[in-house]
């Protein structure tokens, strides 16, 4: 009941934030000198990509937890691995010298701690069957955001590069990522086996390995895709960065609300399916 009252307020606040972000992107942000107005696609393209990556990361964490939590030994190993990642990242941030160009020690430490934080937060808030539900939700919403990335990218590339698409590492790996999660959703939708959640979780774990490849491809390989504007030696006008972060915040709020609705739908759907299965079991007896 409380959620029902909070949801419209959060929806309204998100709508206001999205409108403000749109105004900032189209009007307030300075015009880029070489590309002109078409560069403003960046304010939708990049936040959508970051949101998709975050959702796929949550899907990865949920899938790991769904696989390891029934086995206490595997669960313990996973817990200690995550703790080691958190501590290891903090140590690495201050011990490894020099770090690759554009990578700050604080960002390495924060990433490690965020991974550990996310893992234990999801573990605390969601039971094992619910992690499966959250995995489906984040994969589905992540695919929507990844679709936005794949559509807005070519719309930017056509006027700037003169071509819609090129088989460069960043673009190809993003398309592969999208295809992996589409296959994940198809598996969930059409497989009738009782093992579907386990198979899907295993697929998601392998699928998530593509996310770092997509993200770091422009740092590792020579690609046609623009170099990173944050970190990696790139730079951005502070006013542009401000607009970019506002748009990301707006899309994050939007993604949270969509995930929330989709999660409620998923839980309700599962309850209805359970009731229907129970009814089907009881019906022959009562009709006798």
């Amino acid at each position: 009941m409380k959620m029902k009252r909070v949801f419209p307020i959060l929806g309204l606040l998100t709508a206001v934030l999205l409108s403000y972000a749109l105004y900032e992107a189209l009007v307030a942000a300075p015009t880029e000198q070489t590309m002109g107005d078409v560069q403003r696609i960046f304010y939708y393209h990049v936040p959508s990509a970051w949101t998709a990556f975050l959702l796929f990361f949550i899907n990865f964490v949920c899938s790991i937890q769904y696989l390891v939590r029934p086995n206490p030994v595997a669960d313990k190993v996973a817990n200690w691995t995550v703790i080691a990642i958190g501590i290891g990242a903090c140590i690495a941030a201050f011990v490894i010298r020099p770090l690759p160009e554009g990578i700050e020690p604080s960002s390495v430490a924060t990433t490690g701690l965020a991974i550990a934080g996310f893992y234990f937060l999801i573990k605390k808030c969601f039971s094992q069957p619910r992690t499966d539900a959250l995995a489906v939700v984040t994969a589905e919403v992540g695919v929507v955001f990844c679709t936005v990335v794949l559509v807005t990218g070519p719309l930017w590339a056509r006027p700037v590069w003169g071509i819609w698409w090129t088989w460069d590492v960043r673009l190809t790996s993003t398309l592969v990522l999208w295809l992996i999660y589409i296959s994940y959703l198809m598996l969930r939708r059409f497989s009738t086996s009782g093992q579907t959640p386990v198979l899907a979780a295993a697929l998601a774990v392998f699928g998530a390995l593509d996310v770092p490849l997509v993200y770091f491809s422009i740092w590792i390989f020579r690609t046609q895709h623009p170099q990173p504007v944050i970190g990696g030696g790139g730079s951005i006008d502070p006013r542009m960065l401000h607009v970019l972060l506002i748009n990301w915040l707006a899309f994050l709020c939007f993604a949270v609300l969509v995930c929330w609705s989709r999660y409620r739908l998923e839980i309700l759907q599962r309850e209805v399916e359970e009731t229907q299965a129970l009814e089907a079991l009881l019906e022959p007896r009562s009709s006798r």
Partner: protein, 39 residues
């Protein structure tokens, strides 16, 4: 400029289409719940 508007419009068309599928799924589920309540 056309590409810019096309990109922004495409973004919202994709999101609104997805929200539309969510609404349709909610409606179908509500119908199923009503039928279960009747039994």
């Amino acid at each position: 400029m056309n590409f810019l508007y096309a990109a922004y419009a495409a973004t919202w068309i994709i999101h609104i289409t997805y929200l539309g599928t969510l609404v349709r799924r909610y409606q179908r589920l509500s119908h199923e719940i009503e039928e279960l309540k009747k039994k």
